[in-house]
Symmetry: C2
């Protein structure tokens, strides 16, 4: 059976004008891909009835859309127009659903917030449409058949959309087929270096590679003609990249580090400066991190690096806060004071302005653990505009720090490029 | 002159399958809106030449697309096909541009990374196309005329796309008109409460309101028939919502707090638990925050709340870590130890599992400052699935904490609903 193909229509002026990013389309893409359903196209249109009608009609006209999923425009306010549009397209009236009304009243009572008449709009359903249970919020989903194809309408609030997708939409669309595709994740090495390293995999019959860069990370997506080819390609990629591969699919670097620590009964504490807490936040983003994460100290003001972390005042005075040895002292200090197996520290210049005559993007990472103390100084490729650099520098710092910790736990050296490719390279440049 | 309308085409399988969110479309939407250019539609398609060709042809067929901006598919690897597609559509060949080649070689040398032959693909340009300077990276942008309309192609790497948009695309599209639209930002109050409160603004002639909820925040976007009407509507919204409005446009709550602190010569230090550093990371997300942010202590392991923050051991033993008084002691401890005007602390249960018999979403926020110590316990609306709750609880905690600090600095009470609406409400429920 050919895979089911879905067209996504996300509704909202706020998406077109960029007030929010389209996280819903990304989440749906992941969830659908996981069950072997292909997203053929994803369209964003504004809140007007005309724009929504146009997009749904376009989707129904596309031969490669077996189903349509609409998100947004089901909320309680007057700019939420999706239910009206669908009723109109189906040529039916809107009817008040007593079960939904009852749930709206109960929910409002539970949170001690009054039920406004406006909120009752969420209880209106196009006649004949199926109501899809929303276990996470107020507005239920809707399912109609238009042009012979199922059309699902879901609220735009992310966790409500996700709950209805999981409970109602995905089970209906799941064909039982899964695509021969997987994504391996790497950190700390440039995209072009990774791609060159994998030229021989690229050349394999029935294998297609794609590279998805994000700050200091590259995902390698392998698509194969079948499961056996996929397994062979995965093995070859892992052989070539070695420990640079930290995970698969949606496994984050923080998750990989947490798993290693928990498996060894070890722990980490962090000392931060330019990242302001982002490193700790990333380490605790995954459930169960309390088994491995002790805590952290953010010494943003320079003198706190002395008083809270025990960095020698003379060192700070002589070299300033942005220095490899300061990073090492911060790591050793936080390790000892918080009683962790590893201390991990970052200091640097996030921008937009230089600090102590060090340019934006100067970053030192210190680590202290059972096999001693050391620091690394990653090279961060930066936009020329310092104002745009700040979030990027902070994010790359977090990734490089977690990557250093991961290599330290594993006891392997970090790779920026591969020795055996040197000869090849010298012939080319 | 009618405003220029642009259709966005973002290219990438990684967007359709949800490996990344479409931040580029959001950024472009914001930048275009700011100069009065309307985004009529935004489409995501896969990496194949057929999909890209189809999307560009569709855009050229739309009467409401005066220009097309494509992002993605200009990188160095073989799945980057946009330049080939544009050459084909224009009926011209690709030519190696010697200036771009020279810059590629210089850049590789500067970062000490070899220039792979693959990278030279980025120096190829469809004959007759204009090259748009990329000050932030390797792949330049391209500008062609197809179907009588300008078509811009930009790389998908966000800060490179942004640099080329800013340097080349926005100046060409800027009509000098700006839309009569603005967005006011609120925190801590539910969307339906805000919307009810603003019913009289909704009723104003020539005024349109939209509500954009995100965790613990609601943006109110006002669109008006002209600048004078917009000013009147803004004044009325500000009157009705009072200090619940913390900012305008892209001003974040952290920025608002930082500005208040800096203007008063005051500072803050944070003590975190469930957020793992996210509160400090948010406060330092904006440039210049070092003038107001002292630092923070993340006491993730319970006993560290005693040793690092001075929370009495007896209190922790008797009530556990998730308790209003513990939040207050954390705030007072971090304020004193880090020498800040305000201490701000959060403790709670992020999930997925309950802690000390307290359910997921239980959060206490403590504050300590010149006018004393106190705590608040916000009610967080949660999805029923605890696994999905974790990032949401952490984000809502950060927003409520910053909102408490902001009200404390201003010396005003926090509002969850408006007294004068009570009567109206009781008649309705």
């Amino acid at each position: 059976m050919a895979p089911v193909r879905v067209e996504l229509v996300t509704v909202g002026d706020e998406l077109l004008i960029g007030d929010i990013v389209n996280g819903n389309a990304a989440w749906m893409g992941q969830a659908l891909t996981r069950i072997g359903v292909a997203v053929s196209r994803s369209v964003v249109v504004g809140d007007t009835p005309e724009a929504i009608t146009g997009a749904v009609n376009d989707a129904l006209a596309h031969a490669d859309a077996d189903a349509v999923i609409i998100t947004g425009g089901l909320g309680p306010t007057y700019d939420d127009r999706t239910r009206d549009v669908l009723a109109e397209m189906a040529g039916v009236a809107l009817e008040r659903d007593p079960m939904i009304e009852k749930r709206l009243r109960e929910r409002a009572e539970r949170y001690g917030v009054p039920l406004r008449p406006m909120a009752l709009r969420m209880a209106e359903v196009p006649a004949g449409a199926a109501v899809l249970d929303n276990p996470a919020g107020s507005a239920p989903g809707l399912r109609l058949v238009l042009g012979g194809r199922p059309v699902f309408a879901l609220p735009g609030v992310p966790y409500e959309m996700q709950a209805i997708m999981t409970g109602s939409v995905l089970p209906e669309l799941d064909s039982g087929a899964s695509s021969a595709q997987l994504t391996l994740r790497t950190a700390g090495v440039w995209e072009s270096v990774i791609a060159s390293r994998l030229a021989s995999v690229e050349a394999m019959e029935g294998v297609d590679l794609a590279y998805l860069p994000s700050p200091a990370e590259v995902k390698v997506r392998i698509t194969a003609s079948g499961e056996a080819v996929l397994a062979a390609a995965e093995e070859r990629v892992r052989d070539l990249l070695g420990p640079t591969v930290f995970g698969i699919g949606d496994e984050t670097l923080a998750l990989a580090v947490n798993r290693l620590l928990i498996a060894r009964g070890e722990s980490v504490a962090v000392a931060e400066s330019l990242t302001g807490g982002l490193l700790g936040a990333e380490l605790t983003s995954t459930a169960g991190s309390s088994a491995a994460f002790r805590g952290g100290v953010t010494a943003y003001a320079t003198e706190l690096k002395g008083s809270l972390l025990g960095v020698p005042e003379a060192l700070l005075e002589e070299r300033g806060a942005v220095d490899p040895q300061v990073a090492v002292e911060m790591a050793a200090g936080v390790r000892e004071r918080l009683g962790a197996t590893y201390g991990l520290a970052v200091t640097g210049v996030a921008g937009p302005d230089p600090q102590d005559a060090k340019p934006v993007g100067t970053v030192h990472i210190g680590i202290s653990g059972p096999s001693g103390n050391r620091s690394v100084t990653p090279v961060l490729p930066l936009p020329s505009d310092g104002g745009r650099a700040r979030p990027l520098v902070r994010r790359m710092t977090v990734v490089h720090a977690l990557d250093l910790l991961r290599h330290e736990i594993l006891g392997v050296a970090m790779v920026r490029d591969w020795e055996e490719d040197q000869e090849d390279r010298e012939g080319l440049t």
